[in-house]
């Protein structure tokens, strides 16, 4: 039942967002200048039509780290909730868990994966 409220709210927000998307088309003026729809290129002509394919970002490794640590977080959430009942056993469990993953973090650190666009650090 609680989720129904969320669902209703979601639907409502969706409607409002769509209103915002189309409101300018309805209310705004329309003009057609030759270059007005050019993407911003600092006032010089546009040579490559598509900027989308030309951009290369090296930091997908950050995405990888996010993935792994999100899973870690996903296991930590239920653990945090039941930690009260697990006692010392729970502590050892999570200590091992964190230890293993911290090792992974340290490994990535050492290999320079944490560096932005991961330039190789001298090992």
């Amino acid at each position: 039942m609680e989720y129904m409220a969320l669902l209703i709210f979601f639907g409502l927000m969706l409607a409002i967002a769509f209103v915002f998307v189309f409101v300018n088309t309805l209310l705004g003026p329309k003009s057609s200048e030759a270059l007005q729809d050019y993407p911003y290129e600092c006032g010089v002509p546009l040579y490559d039509k598509s900027a989308q394919s030309t951009f290369h970002q090296g930091y997908y490794l950050l995405g990888l780290l996010l993935l792994l640590f999100d899973i870690e977080a996903a296991f930590l959430f239920p653990w945090a909730v039941v930690y009260r009942y697990l006692g010392i056993f729970g502590f050892i469990e999570i200590f091992l868990f964190l230890l293993i993953l911290t090792y992974g973090l340290l490994y990535a650190w050492r290999r320079g994966a944490l560096n932005w666009q991961f330039e190789e650090e001298s090992l």
């Binding site: 989720y3 129904m4 409220a5 969320l6 209703i8 709210f9 979601f10 409502l12 927000m13 969706l14 409002i16 967002a17 769509f18 915002f20 998307v21 409101v23 300018n24 209310l27 705004g28 003026p29 329309k30 003009s31 007005q36 729809d37 050019y38 993407p39 911003y40 290129e41 546009l46 039509k49 598509s50 900027a51 989308q52 030309t54 951009f55 970002q57 930091y59 950050l62 995405g63 780290l65 996010l66 640590f69 977080a73 930590l76 959430f77 945090a80 909730v81 039941v82 930690y83 009260r84 502590f91 999570i94 200590f95 964190l98 911290t102 973090l105 650190w109 944490l114 560096n115 932005w116």
Partner: protein
Amino acid sequence: MEGLVIWLIVTFVKILVILGIVLGVGAYLTLVERKVAAHIQRRPGPMVVGWHGLLQPLADGLKLLTKEDLFPRYGNRFLYNLALVLALVPATLVFAVIPFGPEFEVFGVKVKPILTDVNIGLLLVFALGSMAVFAIALAGWASNSKYALIGSMRKAGIVISYEVVITFAAMGPLILAGTLSTYHIVQSQIEQGLWYVWLQPIAFVVYMFAMLAETGRVPFDIQEAEAELVTGFTVEYGGMKFGLFPLVEWYIEVLSLSAIAVVLFLGGWSPINIPFLGFVDPLFFLGPLSPFIWFILKVSLLFLFVLWLHWTLPRYRIDQITETAWKVMLPLTLLNILLTAILAPILWR
């Protein structure tokens, strides 16, 4: 059947309140920001529209609404618009799990001032919060502008880095409270007579930094670093669409994350806390309204603090930001979790 009707009425009232906060308060926070910035810079700020510029947000909104709808050449119109939806909807949905005060009774109906009190509330917050990445990535990609693309990639890099940090920072209070429901976290703080900030100073500082980073506030506002990227991923947006991105990022998200910070660390609607002794309420004369006032007060203080930082500090560079997240903040939070795990049983006893 009658129960359903009452439930529906209550739900709609709650939704209206949240909408008011999101769109009304959000818009007026622009004025607050402009005034604060202006006075820090020895200017009066907006003064023309209304008394001391009180009608300025309305004028701005009206202006934005009547702008021409521009769309960049060679872009992708569907994704360009979808990005806006993806930015606005998850950011506002977060308000659904924020408790504004304790349960109270009106006309014989018990009302919890929280839209959906579920026992995975915090998980929802972080899940929805990181949905912003898609909006940003799509906005930059669909605009087909190099500047927008660089800006969106920067922002996405920051959000994914600090998403982990913020989740881990929130873990400390979670261990102490033993629940994922935002409402119960506050309640357990009140029962234990302790704001968790006293036990979690590291987590609180880290959380604040992560919050600034997620919302793109100074010192982490590199996604729209004016001097480098003009306005970053919103560079190709115009009119209300352009207005909504900062609204979502700088106001709605800051508000919701401040509220979560208040819930996690500052005891929600509880009055001033003396550690392990109890609560002192200088606002007792307001009676049942006092918890709500306290909540609003705490959130607005946090918001003003964010503004104050924004208009004082310079900004970091993208590599420094992400590296700080992984190399400083994440180990700190891991340490904090371990410390809390050791500390928590003592507290419970």
